[in-house]
């Protein structure tokens, strides 16, 4: 698990590499009908934004991943019904698999 400071350092490296002065493709703003490269202040903000975004993804990304992996409620209800009829553990297994595949960060 990376700290926000570590992710900020990584974002700084990545954003620095994007600057045209460093041989990158640049990041651009469209201002008053003119496309211009980011100012240093805008690049600094981009570092903060990317670090915060990456940190949020690291801390909370598993929630979205689980949401996407869970089967629709109708199918889960069907699983629960048949588990009751047949004595199987389809639903428990499904939930456990999704959680195991998308672990909460420690």
């Amino acid at each position: 698990m990376a700290t926000l400071e570590e992710l900020t350092a990584a974002a700084q490296t990545e954003i620095d590499a994007k600057k045209t002065a460093n041989g990158g493709d640049g990041m651009f703003a469209q201002v008053n009908n003119e496309r211009r490269e980011f100012t240093e202040a805008e690049y600094d903000q981009a570092v903060i934004d990317k670090a915060n975004s990456d940190f949020d993804l690291q801390e909370n990304g598993y929630k979205q991943a689980r949401q996407e992996a869970y089967l629709p409620i109708s199918e889960q209800l069907d699983m629960i019904y048949w588990d009751g009829v047949n004595g199987t553990t389809l639903w428990d297994d499904h939930i456990a698999e999704v959680k195991a595949n998308n672990p909460k960060p420690e």
Binding site: M27, F28, A29, Q30, N32, I48, D49, S53, Y70
Partner: protein, 185 residues
């Protein structure tokens, strides 16, 4: 009522940019020097076929004050993502430095992975009230899944805002037409 939706500002991306501003006076992207002001009570942002240059990129937004994006940690929001591949999910943010997920989810570079939608802007020019923005969107996300979204955002600062900045979480916004309308009083 005919003629009740007045186009104030518009920008179509021809070369990819990381950041654009609708309104915001001379800081606006179009060169039209348009601003959100007291001319209209309610403004509307329409975006069509917005796409990004990098895969899995979010479009976030901020209000602008005299053309400068407000980066203070006062952005709240909540919305429901309506998904074709699985059940809906609820998303919320509080006290962030931007309206994250303004366009609902990340898009990618695949064919038809685009976002379109409408936001209504309330109180942006009112220095005594918070700024409100509704969300209504449709998209094909970075996993090629069709989605809809509905919700709202609040910027919890009582200040006059003259525009809205849209920016990519990484890389550039590669395509799209972004239009600001005023709703005639």
């Amino acid at each position: 009522m005919a003629g009740s939706l007045i186009k104030v500002d518009e920008f179509t991306i021809s070369s990819a940019v990381s950041s654009i501003i609708l309104g915001g006076g001379s800081s606006g992207s179009s060169g039209l020097n348009a601003s959100i002001d007291s001319t209209y009570d309610v403004y509307m942002v329409k975006y069509n076929n917005s796409g990004t240059s990098n895969d899995a990129t979010l479009i976030n937004s901020r209000v602008t004050v005299l053309g400068t994006p407000d980066t203070s940690a006062n952005y709240d929001g909540a919305w429901k993502a309506i998904r074709t591949n699985t059940t809906f999910n609820n998303v919320s943010i509080t006290n962030e430095t931007q309206w994250t997920y303004t366009f609902g989810d990340s898009t990618g570079t695949g064919t038809s992975e685009k976002q379109s939608g409408i936001h209504y802007l309330f109180n942006f020019n009112n220095a005594s009230e918070y700024s409100f923005m509704t969300v209504e969107q449709v998209m094909v996300n970075a996993n090629a899944e069709s989605k809809g979204g509905q919700g709202g955002y609040v910027h919890t600062v009582a200040q006059a805002c003259d525009g809205i900045q849209l920016y990519a979480s990484t890389g550039n916004i590669a395509s799209g037409t972004f239009t600001l309308y005023g709703l005639k009083k």
